[in-house]
């Protein structure tokens, strides 16, 4: 009896996006598409999301454009060189680093059916910012279905090495090995993946020789039956593993022992750049990984918050809160310490205001109708795809953007949205700098810009041991965010809150990750008394550590679950940072308490 397979919407966006590999009933499959009976989102917010996505898609298109332009230019150069060589009978110039084998161009000029991007001869056109109508947006909820197919279809007999691809339209009655008839065929989960373009290919034996290379095998050649040896035509091709897990030592071999004996190695033809003129060739060795390797492909995910159908920023949030107060909406709350013209919330006495002021808080307010939208719009190869001999820098990795299988729109994205209220705490940037002992002639924005440059240029390994004055402002604000989130969750007894830090404006937003009515930030603030309690609790968390740590540890500054820590990667210019990194409890204490001396 099979149980229905089901996963959460966020799991879909991060782990079950189109082309991702997923276990279904214990077997490896690959996501083909995600559909929803609701069709495209057409709500007002979706327009904003599309516009925001368009900018991100453009960045990826431009990266692809550079690659394609380079490819086109090289082709022209090579054709010209070939023409002039033929004319004068000159020999080709040797390449200093990488020489493309003779037969290679044949494949480049005749792209395979599976090779879909960047290999045609037409001159690529400069990408334009996609229009809203170019992007189809599907909300991933209970109406959505993730459709997969078995992948890889490759099976292997451990005993004799028999190897072929199972044909889903013609499934054998058993998986007994048809060659040796003494063992069972098992799914061979190893696939090739390109570290630059993320192309994934099932293992298929190469075909006949062309020059120094062999024609790459196509899945159809091995579908339903083993590949006939392209050299002798008598035997068929087996996969010999030689008793090792080192794929580099595996070999294709003809059963007739005719000399067809080839190590498993695959170059990516989809994104290859031939050498031309002075430019070296750039062909990526595809890495052999288990299909289910979780970080072979990395989802391109964008998270953004909106209020009143505008992207969240401190100004928008403040305007929304003021409007709620003006309209005397229930549970409206706003205290503006910096702006003396604004009357603070009635429920706060002078002592409470002093507490907030002491914690550098300039404003605190509640905002309703805050949408948090997470969108996946494509993927890039992850670290597992990197071949040791073909390193690809993160900014050279090419994105595959999701498309609409029916062709109604150029791009497709998948979203998950939540709506709730948020508590916004804006700290005074000038006082934050003073408290941290940083150059008060600079703005916090400038300081953060410098720190972002430092973060984006350093390895995670180095960032793990960052301490002292290094990256002080971000670490301190990040620790303030953690302290507030930890204290808030304890105060309402629920883990339903999330936090976002806008470091350049020293703003922390505590928002509801699911619909919790008045049991989230409204209960947290509780008309003002709760807010003071929250700030005091956060301050107490930072003032000292029961374990006596120097500047933050699992006891005092970390959040309990890694997924609660979300870095503002865009602002920091970083591709990825682990949770609970870059924290300064002492910096946070300095911000939250004037009396604190480290």
């Amino acid at each position: 009896m099979s149980r229905p397979q089901s996963i959460s919407p966020l799991q879909v966006l991060y782990q079950a996006f189109p082309d991702a590999v997923r276990f279904v009933h214990g077997q490896i499959t690959r996501v083909r598409t995600i559909v929803s009976s609701r069709g495209d989102r057409e709500d007002p917010l979706s327009g904003l999301v599309r516009r925001s996505l368009a900018r991100r898609i453009l960045v990826e298109l431009q990266r692809r454009y550079q690659h394609d332009t380079d490819l086109a230019a090289r082709r022209v150069l090579r054709r010209n060189a070939a023409g002039s060589s033929a004319a004068v009978g000159a020999l080709p110039q040797p390449e200093p680093d990488f020489v493309l084998p003779d037969g290679f161009d044949a494949f480049l000029e005749n792209p395979s059916a599976e090779s879909t991007g960047g290999t045609d001869n037409s001159t690529p056109s400069q990408p334009q910012l996609p229009a809203e109508g170019d992007i189809s947006l599907i909300e991933v909820d209970e109406d959505a279905i993730v459709r997969t197919r078995v992948f890889p279809r490759t099976v292997h007999c451990q005993r004799c090495g028999h190897f072929f691809l199972l044909d889903p339209s013609n499934v054998p009655s058993t998986l007994g090995c048809p060659c040796c008839r003494q063992s069972m065929l098992r799914v061979e989960p190893i696939i090739f993946v390109c570290g630059r373009c993320g192309d994934m290919r099932e293992l298929v034996p190469p075909l006949e020789r062309r020059g120094d290379m062999r024609r790459p095998g196509m899945a159809e050649h091995a579908l339903g039956a083993a590949t006939v040896c392209p050299d002798c035509g008598r035997g068929h091709v087996h996969l010999e593993k030689h008793g090792t897990n080192q794929v580099a030592q595996w070999e294709w071999r003809c059963t007739a022992r005719c000399g067809y004996q080839i190590v498993l190695q695959q170059r990516c033809l989809r994104c290859a750049l031939p050498s031309a003129g002075d430019a070296q060739g750039s062909v990526i060795f595809m890495n052999a990984v288990p299909a289910s390797a979780p970080n072979a492909l990395q989802s391109l995910v964008h998270q953004e918050m909106y209020v009143n159908n505008r992207p969240v920023d401190p100004v928008t949030l403040h305007a929304a809160a003021r409007e709620a107060v003006t309209r005397r909406m229930s549970d409206a709350f706003l205290v503006d310490i910096a702006d003396r013209e604004q009357a603070p919330a009635d429920s706060l006495d002078n002592e409470a205001l002093a507490t907030l002021r002491n914690a550098c808080i300039a404003r605190a307010f509640l905002v309703g109708g805050v949408s948090a939208v997470t969108v996946a719009y494509g993927y890039k190869p992850g670290n597992a795809a990197a071949h040791p001999q073909s390193r690809v820098a993160p900014d050279e990795r090419l994105a595959t953007l999701f498309g609409d299988p029916e062709g109604y729109s150029r791009f497709r994205a998948f979203s998950h949205s939540t709506i709730g209220s948020a508590l916004v705490l804006q700290f005074d940037p000038v006082r934050v700098l003073e408290r941290l002992g940083l150059d008060s002639t600079s703005t916090l924005e400038d300081v953060l810009a410098q720190e972002s440059a430092s973060i984006s240029s350093r390895e995670v390994r180095d960032l793990l041991t960052t301490e002292g004055q290094s990256i002080r402002a971000y670490r301190a604000l990040h620790a303030v965010e953690h302290a507030l989130l930890n204290a808030a969750m304890r105060q309402i007894g629920s883990e339903t809150l999330g936090a976002r830090l806008f470091p350049a404006t020293a703003t922390v937003v505590l928002f509801e990750k699911s619909s919790v009515g008045r049991g989230g930030v409204i209960q947290l603030v509780n008309g003002g008394a709760g807010l003071v309690q929250l700030v005091e609790a956060a301050r107490d968390l930072t003032l000292g550590c029961a374990q006596g740590c120097a500047d933050g540890c699992p006891t005092c500054a970390y959040v309990a679950r890694d997924q609660y820590c979300v870095h503002p990667l865009d602002e920091l210019g970083a591709a990825w940072l682990p949770a609970n990194i870059l924290l300064s409890r002492r910096g946070a204490a300095a911000i939250l308490s004037e009396e604190y001396t480290s």
Binding site: R3, P4, Q5, S6, I7, S8, Q11, A16, F23, H25, G26, Q27, I28, T29, R32, D141, E142, A144, I145, V146, R147, T148, V150, R159, L166, P168, V171, P172, T174, M184, R186, K241, G243, T244, P290, S292, A293, V460, R461, L464, R490, G493, S494, E495, S514, G517, R518, G519, I522, N526, A529, G544, Q547, G548, C549, P554, Y558, R561, P578, N580
Partner: protein, 809 residues
Amino acid sequence: MPHLLVTTLGGMPDFPPQQYAEAKAGLISLADEDARRLESTRRLYAVRQSGCIATRSPAEPNTVVLTTFGVFDTPREMPAPGPELAALTTSPASLLAEINIPTEEVRALVTNRWTVIQAVLRAAGSAFGFTRLHRFQWDAIQANLKFVASGAHRPVTVVRAPTSAGKTVVFLVNAAVSALCPQEPGSAVLVFPTRLLNEDMFRRLTAFVYALRTHESTATATGGLLMGTSDPLYRVLLAPDEGEPMHHFGRCPACNNHAPLTAVIGTGASVGRILPACSACGHRVDYMFTTFEVEPFLPDIVIATPDKLLYEATVQKHETYRIGLFGAPVRRCTLCGRACPDVHLQLKPDAMRCQQFHRNAGCPGTTRGPIEVRPIRYMGFDEVHSLYGVTATYLSMFLASLQALQVFLSQRREGGQNGVGIRFETATATISNETELIEALTRRRQSVGEILLIPAEGQAHDYFQIVNPSVRHRVLVTLPTRTSSKRAFIQSILNAYEHLHGQRADLEPRLASMTPHSQDWRFLLGYLFKKQEGADMRRALRDMYRNTVGDDLRVEFLSGEAPKDQISNILTRALQGEIDILLANLVISLGVDIHGLNHMVMLGMTQSFTEFVQTAGRTGRGLRSSGHVHVILQPFNPRDAYVYRHFHAVLSDVSGYYDVLPVKSTNLFCAGEMFGNIVKATLVGLCFRPQRPRWPNAIGVRDALGGRDAQIRGGLAGLLCDDPQLLADTRDLVDTRFRALMDQLSQQNAFLSAIMTAPTSDWLIRSLRGRPGNVVRVTCADDALLARLRAPEGGQPEDELGDDTLVSN
């Protein structure tokens, strides 16, 4: 292994205490919090470790060993001995002599109910094989005797003992005493958070109840298991055909035969039942009741999941069938013993035949037994640290409501000798804010002495003493370099398997020269945090072993979301050696007693140190052999990096790193969600008052309220809110919703449960986790191929334990 030895001549390196006993003694000696913090600082930073772990040699204090890996031994902390069982069970006087200042009430209880108390203690001794109680056990048992004697239900006892110290004995003895000793017996409920743990405890309860029944005074003792049955596979398990195995009962309690008990059809007093029977000795376990049988038979001690209790008390459609479990007076069938609520007989006076109420039982008897009231008098909670966040809030509201329900249904007060208040007992919560959690759950207050810690704060060292040179478990920590943590994890497991069972099986012969129990590390368990890693690792281990050795490796992944009929089955197969490598996640860490688990490989530090202690604590149980836990750190995880840098300081004071979990008794959102459950239970209780019962329909409810709506609404607000600051908001919420419900009831003129449980209704929540979130279906178009891959030889598909799914219960 690579290492550097640094010996200081003419001086001693200034190292803080690194070994567990030394560090613990040092911390215990510091009463002052500031001093403790100072010492912690010194311990953390006196030795800065980077790229290696520096360990001062315990044997030669002037020598420091620098290694790339870390080894830390946690010694056994043996419970201090309490009184001999023989001394306790000789006579009332001998037992009273062991009680610390017995009150007159205690003397009276012990004297009047001596044979029952004696039987309970002896049964525990024979079922669990001990002749002497530990001191903490006896303290908890005598505390419970005092509360039973005085009828005090407010005090909560917190049994604070390390894993495998013997808390189960306390729970079972106190449950039996609480259920069987009062003038009017009641029932006791033991609540465990996971199905696996409940099934495990049910087997222990079976052994205990069997032992109880060998004594004349407790010869009629019974037990039961109350768990959700929404999983169709579990329903099948509960209704086997004759001759099929009934794994969930464990081995035969009478002869200990290993073969599973098999199903036989009950006759006579067991008519309509399927009973487990032993094929070796013929013993029939007719005194233990499964989920469908608990309400009809009302056993003395029930193992239950919190969700099922919530369902039975507040969601169930046919309330009449369930209320006996919550204190409503019942009459039993004179033939089969099934209970029927007296209010049902009052409302349907002509329905006296047993099968009119229990329609599927087919019993020809009549329900003419005397009136019996069996409220829940005692609830024991284990693994209480797993009940946090909104679950804690919902549970707090539910427990408050449950006590109110018992008062309504029995029309007796909570306190006093025959009161229907529930006394709570919990085991240690391995979190930092233990008291806060227990206060939130039970709404008892430490400030007024209602929370009793056993042993008391600061006295743990008198109750548990470190035994040197014993090792409870050894933690080996390695930091992979030039390879991924996952690859290191796979290599480590396959390597361990090869040395244990493979062609190079050399470990046991080597161990044989050191211990007579060289086989104690054969069972190999890989611990993973992420569910989605389970299926992947299972496949990777199989493939990689097949690639290198050519053989198939039997690997299974166990998570709480595995099919309900499979969890204990898989565990049993693993322990019997039918599975080569077991992979598991959090489900294994919650209190399950796995004898024979001493060898574990963990992928990364767990996200919380509570989970680490619980998981590592699964090894080294029993006193025979030490556990071996290999933690493969993930270098880019700050938590792992922290452990590596402060290796000894962290592992010698793990409790200092326990989580502070969010726990509150009140939340405005939860109050709104739980309102329906609470109001339904309350109105049903009001309607089923024994003096003048009414059907809980529009007319009956209005009649039962009798114009006291405001008072009831106030009471409901009190059940939903334990925070004075939020009471006004809660009151508003209750007023609004109560009015809406009454309007709906009047308009539809139907039964309360028909309205509230209608498919389109959202009045009720069915789980203490709240309403389920959105889930997305995943389908595979190649269904024929998928089926073939799952059943390569054309037979039945392989199990799906590796599937990653959120569907549960």
